[in-house]
């Protein structure tokens, strides 16, 4: 270790000495002649390779949706909601990995449109009782809200409301429908 450091120091000193020797008097600056003009094509010299012809490559426009969302009225916006709902297991308010992904997307959207106020509706399928489902829907909405807050969305931009099993999205009486009705659904209430 010590030996190696010594070697390095010696080498540096040597280099400095070389540099000092080479640095005598700066040369006097003289105007230099401009380079000769490129040979014109009319001359007999051998033509070089053809000049490449450039054309701009079209780039796809940024998705128009962002601009549209900003200008769309609330009703139209909510009919084709840009938000992804969160779906839940039976009698659960736990947000699974898929739900977290959806909320990640929704959080980005809310960051992009910082004036939007969003109501998170909590819904349940028809299998529980009506009264308990009002409470369960509230828990689901609160779970989604808490997760969005953890992603940095201010709580005062997020409202919750539970509709229990009052407003099923799918009318069927099987798991296909039920799984779509157990959800936290996002509605833009002002923008």
């Amino acid at each position: 270790m010590t030996q190696r450091r010594t070697v390095v120091v010696v080498a540096m000193v040597a280099l400095m000495m070389v540099g000092a020797c080479g640095k005598k008097k700066p040369p006097v600056a003289r105007p230099t002649l401009p380079p000769p003009p490129p040979p014109s094509s009319s001359t007999n010299r051998t033509p070089g390779p053809p000049e490449p012809v450039k054309e701009p490559v079209p780039v796809p426009a940024e998705p128009i949706t962002s601009d549209t969302l900003a200008s769309t009225d609330i009703d139209t916006l909510n009919k084709n909601s840009p938000f992804q709902p969160v779906f839940f297991a039976y009698d659960e308010d736990v947000i699974d990995a898929v739900g977290q992904q959806a909320l990640g997307h929704d959080a980005e959207l809310m960051k992009k449109y910082p004036t939007w106020i969003v109501t998170i509706e909590g819904h349940s399928d028809e299998r529980g009782t009506a009264e308990y489902n009002l409470a369960l829907g509230e828990r689901r909405a609160l779970a989604a809200r808490n997760y969005l807050v953890s992603l940095g969305i201010p709580a005062d931009r997020l409202r919750t409301v539970s509709y229990g099993k009052e407003f099923p999205f799918e009318p069927g009486h099987d798991e296909t429908s039920w799984s779509k009705n157990r959800r936290a659904h996002f509605v833009v209430t002002s923008k």
């Binding site: 609330i74 009782t129 369960l136």
Partner: protein, 456 residues
């Protein structure tokens, strides 16, 4: 009793607009006949007395009076049959007996042959101001009058005379508080109106009331949103309910016969949402569910919005409270053991304890005295059945029969009947059933009808 009757009638008149019958019960009652009070009509040993209720006599011959006479007797027959205290002889079998032409000239021998122990004869007579209705309960064996009443009022709702007479007969003969003049409140989407505001196309629901038997169904709220979970105040003048008209659920107290702006005792906001109100038995307080702690908890507030206090404090769901008849305890649904079960606690929130241990229980409804029971919905396979928990035996029995899904039980004020929601006939409708599982009847048919509540 007299006061109750009068206020009920005043309420009924104000309500209607459509009904408007105004019998001043007992005000023009003829002098009591000797022995009236002491007569209790009995049947054969071990059997209920048999009653016959032939068409009332129309003393004036106009069509309205004639129709009213028939309606009153038919409804009175149904009202008396409802409590199952008497055996009501089928009206089809009366044909052989010539109709009486006067309340004092009744062919008692023929009624005796038919097997009647008690006979109810009545008259309807048009008067300058409306109508006069006489009702007489006769002990067939002796020919003595057990009860005689005369009512006056309008003819807009003849059923109310029958209901009033039925309640008086049950009171006098059986010392029973009948339910003929009680009312139901429930939620209905029958008008097919759509929700205001943004988003998806959604139907609305409003609060309706009806007679106990489903007659005279009348809408009492006009929101363009969801009005659900009605609860009659004990004085029957107002209904507390959950309304989404501000885009979040809040509790409204609406004086349905006065047209005032509804009062919001829990002063809701988007951060303090309130739902599922339940009146204390004395009508001074409301228990309800609220999310103001970022979790559903049971709170109580005075009717005027003062003295708000929290009863539950648990991260689980606590929802849908109901008061014990004394007001000392509150039952509610909680999933703090992992699934929704029925719990009870003191009215100050202390000593919560679980009373059910089943798959999924909800919507407890505490019975009135003398029964000490809690009705609730309990999962049974794909649907629910109404069960009743008895505090004396600490056991539950199933009231409904496993057909359809049966939810949201509400006791009648005498504790003998339960109104509930059922899908047994297709869409959800309101049904009534006796506490022993008999006497099932459907009382709504238009649209979808839910969340029944039974007035005092």
């Amino acid at each position: 009793m007299r006061t109750l009757t009068t206020s009920m009638i005043a309420a009924s008149v104000a309500l209607t607009l459509a009904q408007g019958a105004q019998p001043s019960a007992g005000s023009q009652e003829p002098p009591r006949q000797q022995g009236e009070v002491s007569i209790s009509i009995t049947g054969p040993p071990g059997l209920p007395p048999k009653y016959a209720v032939p068409d009332f006599i129309a003393l004036t011959n106009d069509a309205e009076t004639v129709a009213a006479a028939k309606t009153i007797s038919q409804v009175l027959w149904d009202d008396l049959d409802f409590e199952r205290e008497f055996y009501l002889i089928s009206r089809d079998t009366y044909r052989t007996i010539p109709p009486a032409t006067s309340i004092d000239q009744v062919p008692l021998d023929q009624w005796k042959q038919l097997g009647a122990d008690g006979l109810i004869i009545g008259t309807v007579r048009k008067t300058a101001s409306g109508v006069a209705v006489q009702v007489r309960l006769i002990e067939v064996a002796s020919g003595r009058t057990a009860l005689a009443k005369e009512y006056s009022g309008t003819l807009k709702n003849p059923r109310l005379y029958a209901h009033t007479a039925s309640d008086e007969i049950h009171q006098q003969q059986r010392n029973l508080r009948g339910v003929a003049r009680t009312k139901l409140a429930f939620t209905s989407d029958r008008d097919g109106e759509r929700m205001k505001g943004p988003v998806i196309d959604r139907g609305i629901s409003n609060i309706y009331i009806s007679d106990y038997d489903g007659a005279n169904q009348t809408r009492v709220t006009v929101s363009r949103s969801l009005d659900i979970t009605p609860a009659w105040s004990p004085d029957r003048n107002s209904i507390a309910y959950t309304s989404y008209r501000s885009d979040f659920p809040d509790i409204l107290i609406q004086f349905i016969y006065e047209g005032k702006v509804p009062f919001k005792p829990a002063a809701g906001s988007s951060e303090k949402q309130n739902f599922l109100p339940a009146w204390s038995p004395d009508g001074t307080q409301l228990a309800f569910t609220t999310n103001r702690d970022h979790n559903n908890e049971i709170y109580v507030v005075n009717r005027d919005g003062t003295n708000l206090r929290r009863l539950t404090n648990h991260p689980a769901i606590d929802v849908t409270p109901t008061w014990s008849p004394t007001g000392n305890q509150i039952a509610f649904t909680s999933d703090r053991t992992g699934s929704p079960q029925i719990w009870i606690m003191n009215a100050d929130g202390s000593e919560p304890q679980r009373i059910t241990n089943e798959g999924f229980c909800d919507r407890p409804t505490w019975s009135p005295a003398p029964f000490n029971e809690i009705a609730y919905a309990s999962r049974n396979g794909a649907g629910f059945d109404i069960k009743v928990f008895d505090f004396a035996s600490r056991t539950s029995k199933t009231i409904t029969d496993g057909i359809g899904s049966n939810e949201s039980p509400a006791f009648s004020p005498n504790g003998r009947h339960i109104a509930f929601t059922s899908t047994r006939a297709g869409k959800e409708q309101i049904f009534l059933i006796d506490r022993d599982g008999k006497n099932l009847r459907q009382v709504t048919r238009a649209g979808m009808n839910r969340y029944p509540n039974w007035s005092q």
